[in-house]
Symmetry: C2
Subunit: 474 residues, 2 copies
């Protein structure tokens, strides 16, 4: 086991859903602090699940965070030198980050969540219901901080989070396989340069979750392997992707953003209705939802190479290609056909899972080795050995959360940090015990391979396999 | 129980899948013949399931029908005056129909199946992989028969079959609810006229199957409530629909046919990739696959009204809107993402079903009462009471098969018959014991109702809710 990190502050965790429940048991594996210095605050009631930790001295508070009580609540439980781990869904992350910054509190989250009522809110323009917008707002808020202040690591779960570091690890493996002359980059510029030298045009965060339950899903029951609200909310967002400089044609309903760095686009339709072809090593070819995710924005931004006049010369297309569990696929379909009404009956698969793996990684495409997948292939059985009672999906997110927490505590004055600005090797080393087998695999897969001619697809570009329209399922 | 129909011929049933297994037990409920005059021929091996019927004297033959052995095989088991019930998938129906006609054998099937290798065969032009094409070929073959010869009832399972009769029943109920002055039509022309007078613009065969199994589906295992090959094969076919005269705009990839009566169109993409909004009374709003089906062709043809110069003046859009069981939805998705490769591992849900209903009916839209659904709401529990060991889906198909068989035996010289030319009330009376509750329900549902503005959909016609593009999920 790794050496414990001494921590003199308190840890306050907001949210105790499937991810929170996996993080709580591992806090004492990484931090040396009195367990009575740990407080969990949640809106739901999982007091029964928390009982063993309450018995150890941890504190539990039931409290629903609202725009009205947020600041006062944070002030009641957090002070300078503490760590706030935000694992809520539907609570405005920027408000919490801002408060933590101004109150000397370390901060880690997994997603730039808006208030819940902004999900599926048709009154908000599509361009505003995007992670591009969230990150632009976040960066604008943090700009005056000048890179200083208490460390705030945002969007650092599994994806976004761990996968962002997988891209660097994969880039090194590809560069090596291509026999490029290189050393491990030290700066963003060097990473973007090496990435460009590999020729990578597309990054999918490609995931196939095959976890399945012994309990047959009822019609219109929403079953997922992680937060139902989180999944539902993201799926209502427009499909969104970092937009590569090799792309020739916008997809149907594709829109550029009219402000900011312009490294992404969105499609004016929900990600839950937008499928692309992708690939994972064990699961094979998949259809994945292009669900709006932070890593599409931050990875394409980070890996943009510029010329000497600061004009972008290379940028990859980056997006999620998510094949959820079978029950979650049907659950989302049911919600969509019921006009996106939030589901009345929900269930997160845990002890009822009989088998399956969550195969989650990054698929780099278009480089000198065609395709390369780097990621975690964690089975439910391995997950249970690592943290009893938790599923594979929760563990992968937990890996991102705990590694960011450890790094933040060790590096408490780095200010606002997107995941790409954390040291990838160090983070993956902390995360490794929670990821199961980590594979780095070359493949000859392309979206044009073995493609039945049953569709009439005049938009397919047979000269350049890596055009987004070749991936899109229409 | 209904009076037994004496039958002096033999009954030879081709195929003993889920539908065949539901038909065999009911033959003796309807026909008075020595059970030794019944022979089942199948390519697969369900000898164990057949054992109770073998014990009663029925005959069982394992034989795979191929282009090479088909004629000889039929000749070995069938002679003039016999009844051939064709429940195979992937055996060319037209070849069997032709043979039966020329050999004095009565004939009933549930689908104009092609040879299996024509499914998913990209070398065959899309327009040829349609039910429009199958029916045009069938009609051309039967034209010289002049409406004479041994009765051959085609496409008479649940849908197509029973649902075709539901349309007439629904039309009568709508006409009555609208207080139209009418009597029950006696001819095709009168039916088309009454139908036009109701103002019906669209017919969905709308189905939601909520049957679910206690056995968790494995990844890439194909699980269905009926024939896997049948479902897979139909889903590879282009989406196809009878095309109403009110339609203003072809859908994306929409194509007219260049021969025949022109009452249908197809989309140059598989039905398995084509979703529409529809509605069923218990299941609510659904997304359904526009899977190519015979009833789209024959219903839109039958219900076309003509003026005195024989020019069409009213025709509905007609298509399937199929929400299969949850496992079947995921199974089809998996097959599509694996490039339509036929699944290696298959399972038909039967005794493992824990709950659910197959809600299958017709949704007539755009008339004076907005929307009207007429159909069967058969639960697995009721199905098992009616025929032990069978599921709801099989029973609904069985209802169509047995009613057509009874009618054919009673009316043995009607030549080639599409379902619409059978007497709907008489057929539904025979079918009723197998359909569970049959509902006739008015609704105010339209495809524009409760439609979240999350998509940018400039093609939506807010003036005319009944345009196909309003239903299409894009």
């Amino acid at each position: 086991m790794v050496a414990l990190v001494p921590f003199g502050g308190r840890i306050v965790m907001l949210g105790y859903g499937s991810v929170g429940q996996s993080v709580v048991p591992v806090l004492e594996r990484h931090f040396d602090l009195p367990l009575s210095n740990i407080t969990i605050i949640e809106a739901d009631d999982h007091a029964d699940k928390f009982a063993p930790f309450a018995a150890k001295g941890m504190n539990y508070v039931r409290l629903s965070l609202t725009p009205e009580n947020l600041t006062a609540s944070l002030g009641s439980y957090l002070k300078a030198g503490d760590l706030c781990i935000n694992l809520t869904a539907g609570v405005d992350a920027l408000s919490i980050i801002d408060w933590c910054h101004h109150n000397g509190v370390l901060y880690v989250d997994t997603s730039l969540e808006p208030w819940a009522d902004q999900y599926g809110e048709e009154g908000i323009p599509a361009a505003k219901r995007t992670h591009y917008e969230s990150h632009e707002r976040m960066r604008a808020m943090a700009a005056p901080w000048g890179g200083k202040g208490p460390t705030a690591v945002i969007t650092h779960g599994a994806n976004p989070g761990i996968v962002n570091h997988f891209v660097k690890a994969a880039t090194l493996d590809i560069a090596q396989a291509m026999n490029l002359d290189f050393s491990t980059p030290k700066s963003r510029e060097d990473w973007a340069d090496l990435f460009m030298r590999t020729g990578t045009k597309v990054i999918h965060v490609s995931e196939r979750d095959t976890q399945r339950s012994s309990i047959p899903k009822e019609p219109d029951e929403f079953v997922n392997t992680w937060s139902v609200l989180g999944y539902w909310g993201e799926a209502t967002y427009p499909a969104e992707m970092g937009w590569g400089m090799h792309e020739n044609m916008l997809p149907p309903m594709g829109q550029h953003f009219t402000h900011g760095p312009g490294n992404a686009i969105y499609m004016h339709k929900p990600g839950g209705l937008t499928l692309v072809r992708s690939w994972v090593p064990k699961g094979g070819p998949i259809f994945g939802f292009v669900i709006s995710h932070s890593e599409s924005i931050t990875l394409s931004h980070y890996f943009t190479a510029y010329d000497q006049d600061n004009r972008p010369v290379h940028r990859p297309t980056v997006h999620y290609a998510y094949h959820p569990s079978a029950d979650a696929i049907v659950s989302l379909r049911e919600v969509m056909m019921k006009d996106w009404q939030p589901p009345a009956k929900v269930r997160i698969m845990q002890d009822d899972i009989v088998d399956g793996i969550d195969e989650l990684g990054v698929l780099l495409l278009g480089h000198g080795k065609t395709a390369w997948w780097y990621g975690s292939q964690l089975s439910i059985h391995e997950a249970r050995k690592i943290i009893p009672g938790q599923n594979a999906t929760a563990l992968q997110v937990c890996a991102g959360v705990i590694s960011a927490c450890v790094w933040a505590v060790k590096n408490p004055d780095r200010g606002f940090c997107e995941p790409e600005y954390l040291p990838h090797a160090e983070i993956l080393e902390i995360a490794k015990p929670y990821l199961g087998p980590v594979a780095s695999v070359q493949s000859d897969w392309t979206p044009l391979r073995d493609r039945a001619g049953l569709n009439f697809e005049p938009w397919v570009d047979h000269q350049d396999p890596w055009q987004f329209n070749n991936f899109l399922v229409r």
